[in-house]
Symmetry: C2
Subunit: 216 residues, 2 copies
Amino acid sequence: MSEIILHNYYRSSTSYRVRIALEMKGIKYRYVSHHLRLGEHLEPAYLAVNPQGLVPALIWSDGALLTQSLAIMEFLDEIQPQPPLLPPDAQGRARVRMLSQMIACDIHPVNNLRILTALRTLYGAGDEDVANWFRHWVNETFQPLEKILAESSDTGKFCHGDSPGLADICLVAQVANNARFNLNMVPYPVISRISAECLTLPAFIKAAPANQPDAE
Amino acid sequence: MSEIILHNYYRSSTSYRVRIALEMKGIKYRYVSHHLRLGEHLEPAYLAVNPQGLVPALIWSDGALLTQSLAIMEFLDEIQPQPPLLPPDAQGRARVRMLSQMIACDIHPVNNLRILTALRTLYGAGDEDVANWFRHWVNETFQPLEKILAESSDTGKFCHGDSPGLADICLVAQVANNARFNLNMVPYPVISRISAECLTLPAFIKAAPANQPDAE
C-alpha cells in the first residue's frame, strides 16, 4: 500500500468533483497537476498512466487506475461510506444519480475544453461563439434541473435532503464553470441557493479551484 | 402499483441501453415511442412527463420519473439484483462504471442528435462534416478503451469477466450507432469481439433497434 495520487487540474470541473469527494471522505492524497491548456495531459508519461489522457485519474493505494469522476466518487463512497454521497433508498439513489448525470452527461461533456477547442479549429468559432455554445447547453439542462429541484419535496437544504451528496458536488463544480462564461444565474434560484450552501462547507472550500496549488 | 412505462425511441442508443437492462432483468414494460427526428420529445405532453424532454425516461410502477440511462440501469440493478450488471467488488464496480462512462460521458453526449443538429444549424456542417465529427470522438475514446480492455486480465468474454454487464450494454449500443456512420472497427478487435458476443444473447437481441415497434 502506498500513497493515493490524484492527477488533476485546478480548473477542471470533473477534477473539482473528485477533490470535494476526497475531502468529504477525509482521504489524503497527493496532488499532481496537468496543465490542460498547455497539453500536459497528452504527454507520453501521462498517457502511460492513463491511456485516455484526461483528468481526473485517481491512482489508488494498490496502484489501480480509476478514471471517470462519477465512477471514482461511487468507489470512494463504497470504500468509505461516511458521510454518504448517496441516500439509503434505491429511488433516492436513482434521483441523485439522475441529477448528477444531467450535469455530468448532458452539460459538461459538450462544454469541456476539447470540444470548445474543436469548435474553434474546425469551424472558426470565436470567443463569443464559444461562450454562446457553452451557455446554450447549460441553460438547456439547468431549466429542467431547476424545475425538478423546485417542484420536488425530496429537495431540501441540498439537492436531496439536508446533507450534501453526489448531485451537489456536480452542481457546485458546474456553477463554478458557469461563472467563467458569465452565465446569468437569476433564472436558477434553487440551484443558486444549494450551490451557495455547499460553498460554506469546509470540504467544498478546500477543493475549490482557487485553493489548489496550481491555481493561476 | 401500475404498469412500468419506457419513453424511448428505437434508434436512441441511451434508450437501447435501458431496453437491454430491462430485458436482462426480465422486467415487463410498456413501450412508448417518441420520434426524435420529428421532435416528438419536445411536445408539451411529454415535457409534462419529463421536463428535460429527452429519452429514455422510465416511469416506475409507483409513478416516479427516472431519467438518465446509467441512473436507470443502476436502479434496476438494485431493485432486481439478478443477473447483476455490476461485479461484487468495489474496484470491479469502479472499473465497469469507468468503462461505461467512457462511452456514456465522453462519446455519446458529444455525438447525439441535438449536438449534430447544432453543428449543422450554427456552423453549416454538412453530412460529411457531421460524420467526421462523430467518428473523431468515437475514435478518441475507443483507442484507449480498446487498450484498457486488451491489456487487462479483468477482461473476459465480456468487458469484465464472463458475464455481460453495464459496460457491455453501453458498448453494444455505441457500436450500433457507429455502424450508422460507417466507423472502421478494424482497429478495435476486442471491442468487436465483445459486441458480437453480446449480440448472441436474447436480451440484447430483443432490445435491438431493428426489433422495436417503431423501427423504420
